[in-house]
Subunit: 412 residues, 2 copies
């Protein structure tokens, strides 16, 4: 798209530094300017290249006082609609209670499943709203939320409906992913194939009819579902036209990434135990690697995802909060940027690309979100920082100055 | 102090849950009420125990809607007045540059020393003000700041003056610590004893005369100062009436804690390599153990401080941000609470005590700060959480609803 000056401008940012995240790099424009027309970025470049009378012609000029503009963050993997809390389990573990003991007492994911099943739509909406607001205030403008704490038709649909409500209520763009095959519900103990049949032949078609999810995800793992079971779900999902995503190779190598790649998945997520052959398949099918350092941190894992292999094979890496009550109660993308650098040895540039354009690609939104380019949605954050690396290096604070989504300034 | 009802009340918090942090525990009062008279907490207890006409008699009732009140956090170890930034070094390390190479290029602590020496008082004040505001917004109401990036009389005094200005400007209580013996300045290379003479015989008396620090700290370490050098500084500091603190046993066991204990230090800080005999001396002299998980995290250390020994010997543990540009650019006490639990295996209760009453004790302020008790300063934070453990368990968000310091509600 040619960088011609737009005829009409609604907002003009001047006196700013812009990290566009276009062209596979941070791509810095110092002393930049950025124009927004309607919902769209209509011009981006050096301020000195603006025509003389340009500022006067614009409805609204925003002097950024040398601050930084980056694309709004894309958080491409969360489970933030859930009932209950797991802080009691966190306390118990610190006092020496084992995972097994906690599980025996009804803890772990099933405590969240029970609480989510028992929660009203209203209460799920209220608690999730708080989390969405927290993410928005910290610069996340596009968000994926998975179901997966219902594990029966009624409760899975309830969670997906709450996600739809959140998308309507909040200015963020929210993508819903159906994760019926997140864990085996207790009532199907010993009969995983039967549950997979329910997911495949009952839940999936109903989710499709209701049009309340764009992607389908599975937890493929020794403690989740087998490769064959995953394949069954994916076949039906593909047939119904869903995008495909996979929780793959988090705790062991099940070759899930290879399978997902054959289904042209948008992303494989976690990937600590990914093999070289799995990675090669991902590269071949342009699958995004979504890395989740929050879960790595909370689970005290030691095996890191193979970042060097992703680099070599040019597999784009996304990073995400994985916001969930059990393994990653992390509410901040900047904290995830920090962990991506500190725990996974990613560079600041890689982490920032992971939270923006590569996150967008992991949701199939690479054409409209995740970078500052003419013609893309005007999802922007103004940050009070000295350099983009500050977002990775400094921890525990929120230097957001302003958030804009589709051309609208967000008021908190 | 008897829990009689005060005659005059300025603010009454009702419908709240209170975690007092008194009596060496979280000490929870559910359905509590709390009265503030002037700068002081004048009553705390169960709301049902309030006299019938009490709410009407009070000037200002605050309905906390079942939220939690905790004492304002005490951040007892920071280095937050500094010039420059080290985010470029963070980036360089992630790209593979070694510490040695960075050091050769003028990086590391000496880049901060240079930038701090070259900075005007005004610019130091401006950059530090941002950091103080960030801490305050996240529930820190008492703060210690060390000098130690000047390393000559003029620049050390400049930093201490900035700390004094910050204390005047902001409602937080700020304690200044003189850390002239933080590192050997380049101009004294090969002559550490000469520098220690300068610290002891020139700087210390001048700091005393100007009355701009209450405590003296030393970095006792193979890459810092020796035990003998530390002793010289402490002898003079004691003679002049300063409180004593020590950066001890962070990277190796120099037996600094034993020495500091003999000087009845308020605290020894870091302590990853503390020996049992050092710990015993700390216990004997009622020295607080200040644990700094941020530095442990950023330095990717693997040896943890001996938390079990502190428990056995009943040595109170404080936790702190250690906010500094090199090894702990952490701006949040809740993130430190999380790291204390995740990285040092502290319980939520221990971490919370560490950020409140034990932090206060590490500053010699145990009688006025750090817990919610009748007669103590009304430094309070209202948190939008379900349970105090949420402050440790959840990461990357700031559920502060209200901050009060000495009876005044803080407006952000």
């Amino acid at each position: 798209m040619q960088n011609l000056f737009p005829e009409k401008i609604d907002t003009l940012f001047i006196n700013c530094n812009i990290a566009t995240m276009a062209d596979n790099g941070i791509s810095i424009n110092k002393n930049g300017a950025l124009a927004v027309t309607g919902e769209i970025i209509s011009w981006v470049g050096k301020e000195k290249n603006l025509p003389d009378n340009f500022k006067i012609k614009c409805k609204k000029n925003i002097d950024c006082k040398n601050r930084w503009i980056l694309p709004g963050f894309v958080d491409c993997h969360t489970h933030l609609v859930y009932g209950g809390s797991r802080s009691n389990e966190f306390e118990m573990r610190l006092k020496g209670t084992s995972y097994e003991e906690i599980s025996k007492q009804g803890g772990g994911i099933f405590s969240t499943v029970n609480a989510s099943r028992n929660a009203s739509k209203e209460s799920l909406f209220t608690s999730a709203s708080k989390r969405v607001k927290t993410l928005l205030k910290q610069g996340i403008t596009t968000l994926e939320i998975k179901s997966g704490y219902g594990l029966n038709l009624e409760s899975e649909l309830k969670i997906l409906e709450v996600i739809k409500q959140l998308d309507k209520k909040f200015p963020l763009h929210i993508e819903a992913t159906f994760l019926g095959a997140h864990a085996l519900p207790i009532e199907f103990k010993g009969n995983p194939d039967e549950y997979i049949d329910l997911v495949t032949h009952t839940m999936l078609p109903e989710v499709k009819i209701q049009g309340i999810a764009t992607a389908v995800d599975v937890f493929c793992e020794t403690i989740g579902f087998s490769l064959d079971q995953t394949k069954k779900v994916f076949q039906k999902a593909k047939e119904l036209g869903f995008n495909i995503k996979l929780h793959a190779e988090q705790l062991s190598d099940s070759n899930g990434a290879g399978l997902a790649s054959e289904f042209n998945a948008l992303s494989c997520d976690h990937l600590e135990y990914l093999s070289l052959s799995g990675a090669k398949k991902m590269a071949q099918h342009n699958v995004i690697a979504v890395l989740l350092p929050g879960a790595f941190y909370y689970l005290k894992e030691t095996r890191k995802p193979p970042v060097d292999i992703f680099r070599k094979l040019k597999i784009p890496m996304a990073v995400s909060t994985d916001l969930n009550p059990g393994t990653s109660p992390v509410h901040s993308m900047t904290l995830i940027l920090n962990m991506a650098c500190m725990l996974f040895d990613m560079t600041c540039e890689e982490a920032l690309l992971g939270a923006s354009i590569n996150g967008a690609k992991a949701l199939g939104l690479g054409n409209t979100k995740g970078s500052i380019e003419k013609g893309k949605d005007a999802d922007l954050v103004v940050w009070d920082i000295d350099t983009p690396a500050d977002l990775c290096y400094l921890a525990g604070f929120n230097p957001v100055e302003m958030v804009m989504i589709k051309g609208d300034k967000i008021n908190f």
